[in-house]
């Protein structure tokens, strides 16, 4: 059997639903819309406003006549609007890596899948500050005409959700049937339930917590340090020249360590040597785990902007659902009107089950309609992309209650 991690890293395509097959949403092309301009800028948590703001998004399935079957999917740190299907023109968008793989949650979104596109109208948009079509640090700053770089405002999960609400308005949808996401996407789903309680019918929060632990903050700090100390970083003004690839690659390698678990690493690499037999008495890549991380780092710099990594990790650091209750999570949760499904994974140490259960209990103390399940998995944080069968079953049970 092939390792699901290979599917995740794009080494194997045997598990993918091909574009013409029954369970695929088929070929997709992103849309772009301007949701803030000079007359109607987007207010940000930092106190500034930003305009113009463009948002890239994709949709799958059809909005019904009552406009009550929309599900908003929220992506994680390095994700994009391309959640399902196959991009029809990856080269035209400058994203050649998407030729060989479908959208990042293709195993959950499609006809007959957990987010069934024959029933639901599924929306996914790229977050503010990212580098996949929505306005971010690489976009032109209207004041200078040059890319923002570090002049880009520090954005938050709250800002992302505020912008997503504009997108939902633009699509003519008042109330979402569901919001759903994993990791940083799960925190956006939680933020939706808190910020727009009357616009969300159900929230699916996966592999996420009310806030990142100090351990998580520490990893993000090191990742950013790797980027900002790269000789090519140049205060974030590297567009058009050499990019801080080494720093970004190290940041991503660090990230991948936090996405795996001790046991998933042991199973995948088992201290094996790349040369197949033993020490070569050299300081380069010796172990398979080193080769894997290096590959992940190198592949990532081809597809991601270092400044976006800085801004998005900072947003992850800042997020704290308790702010809706002036620091009191119980009080914050009392705002929630939607029902909620919380799913954690037993070996996830970045967003640990115990912390997710805390969130579930905070909602429970507020007598909210909350369900919590902890899926037994060895895949660590990455399980939210890999434990499809178990996750899909829970999501289906939740969305399609008898």
């Amino acid at each position: 059997m092939s390792d699901p991690l290979d599917a995740f890293t794009g080494k194997s395509d045997t598990k993918f639903d091909a574009p013409g097959t029954a369970r695929s949403v088929g070929w997709t092309a992103p849309e772009k819309v301007r949701l803030a301009d000079e007359r109607n800028p987007l207010p940000l948590d930092c106190g500034r406003t930003i305009a113009p703001v463009d948002v890239e998004y994709e949709t799958y399935g059809r909005l019904n006549q009552k406009r009550d079957n929309a599900i908003l999917i929220l992506h994680a740190l390095s994700g994009d609007a391309h959640a399902a299907g196959w991009l029809s023109d990856p080269d035209g968008l400058g994203r050649p890596w998407l030729k060989s793989r479908p959208g990042w949650w293709d195993n959950m979104i499609g006809p007959g899948k957990a987010f069934d596109t024959t029933k639901y109208f599924v929306i996914c948009s790229n977050i503010l500050g990212s580098c996949y079509g929505s306005t971010g640090p690489s976009s032109p700053d209207p004041e200078t005409g040059r890319p923002y770089g570090l002049r880009f405002p520090v954005v938050t999960v709250g800002d992302w959700v505020r912008l997503q609400a504009r997108l939902v308005d633009h699509l003519g949808i008042r109330r979402l049937f569901a919001v759903a996401g994993g990791s940083l996407g799960g925190q956006q789903a939680l933020e939706w339930a808190l910020a727009y309680p009357d616009r969300v019918e159900s929230a699916i929060i996966i592999a996420a917590t009310a806030r990142l632990s100090d351990q998580g903050l520490a990893f993000n700090a090191v990742a950013r340090q790797a980027i900002t100390t790269d000789p090519c970083f140049n205060g974030g003004n590297y567009y058009g020249g050499a990019t801080p690839d080494r720093g970004l690659a190290v940041a991503r390698m660090l990230g991948h360590i936090t996405y795996l678990s001790e046991i998933s690493m042991r199973r995948k690499f088992g201290r094996r040597f790349c040369n197949g037999y033993g020490p070569g008495f050299q300081l380069g890549v010796e172990f398979e785990v080193e080769g894997y991380l290096r590959h992940q780092g190198e592949a990532f710099v081809e597809r991601f902007d270092a400044n976006s990594y800085l801004y998005i990790t900072r947003a992850a650091d800042y997020y704290d659902a308790a702010k809706w209750g002036d620091g009191d999570l119980d009080r914050a949760c009392r705002r929630i009107q939607s029902k909620a499904l919380l799913v954690s994974f037993s070996s996830d140490w970045l967003y640990p089950p115990a912390q997710m259960k805390e969130l579930a209990l905070a909602m429970g103390r507020g007598r909210k309609r909350v369900s919590y399940a902890n899926i037994s998995s060895s895949y660590g944080h990455d399980a939210f992309l890999l434990e499809v069968e178990k996750l899909a079953h829970l999501v289906r049970c939740f969305l399609e209650k008898r």
């Binding site: 029902k339 429970g364 399940a373 037994s376 829970l394």
Partner: protein, 202 residues
């Protein structure tokens, strides 16, 4: 358990007033809570340790937390619920007394039902065959039973007395009919159900 006996189910449904808050410990597939939510407007929450049953409960639209009762109910405040239900669950936990304590902490009242190991058929089966009894109420073999702490109605009453827990109501299931619990004929009861509460909370 899966023996189709619904005696406690119906009694619990009858006991719980409309609009009450109910915690079901070991809620299984969530059927009891679903009927209480739909039929009586109860605000319910289940706790279940088997993830497949958690999924079934979710599919009934019943809120449920995936957790092990033996780890307690930390995080749920004192007297948070009007009723806490232990429907044929107590005999299957590792720490029954701890679970009972937790039940009485988070609930104003507890409802506990369990197979009565003191039933005459159980006793005589053990006596005559020398083997662990297999009866309609206790249908498992000794090695595959989820019932790891079997006890009798009298054991339970002893516990209540010792811990100064008040028995508010009691019911017995005689195989074909339910009746108020009577200590004299307790060995005729296949199953029993008690409503309990703390004296000091009355």
């Amino acid at each position: 358990m899966a023996n189709g006996n619904r005696f406690d189910h119906e009694i619990i449904y009858g006991l719980i007033p409309g609009g009450a808050t109910v915690l079901d410990l070991g809620c299984g597939d969530g059927e009891l809570l679903m009927s209480l939510i739909e039929g009586k407007g109860v605000r319910g929450l289940g706790i279940e340790k088997d993830i497949d049953r958690v999924a079934e409960t979710i599919s009934r639209g019943v809120p449920v937390l995936h957790a092990d009762l033996d780890e307690g109910l930390a995080g749920l405040p004192d007297r948070h619920f009007d009723y806490v239900v232990l429907e044929k669950t107590l005999q299957a936990v590792n720490r029954p007394l701890f679970v009972l304590e937790e039940m009485l902490r988070v609930g104003a009242a507890g409802i506990v039902s369990f197979p009565n190991f003191g039933h005459w058929q159980v006793i005589s089966s053990l006596l005559l065959t020398g083997k662990m009894p297999v009866t309609p109420i206790l249908p498992y073999q000794w090695h595959d039973t989820p019932n790891i702490h079997l006890f009798t109605a009298r054991d339970f009453l002893d516990w209540a007395e010792e811990k100064r827990v008040k028995i508010v109501q009691g019911f017995s299931w005689y195989g074909d009919r339910a009746a108020p619990f009577s200590e004299e004929c307790f060995s005729l009861a296949e199953e029993v159900l008690f409503v309990v509460s703390r004296y000091d909370q009355e």
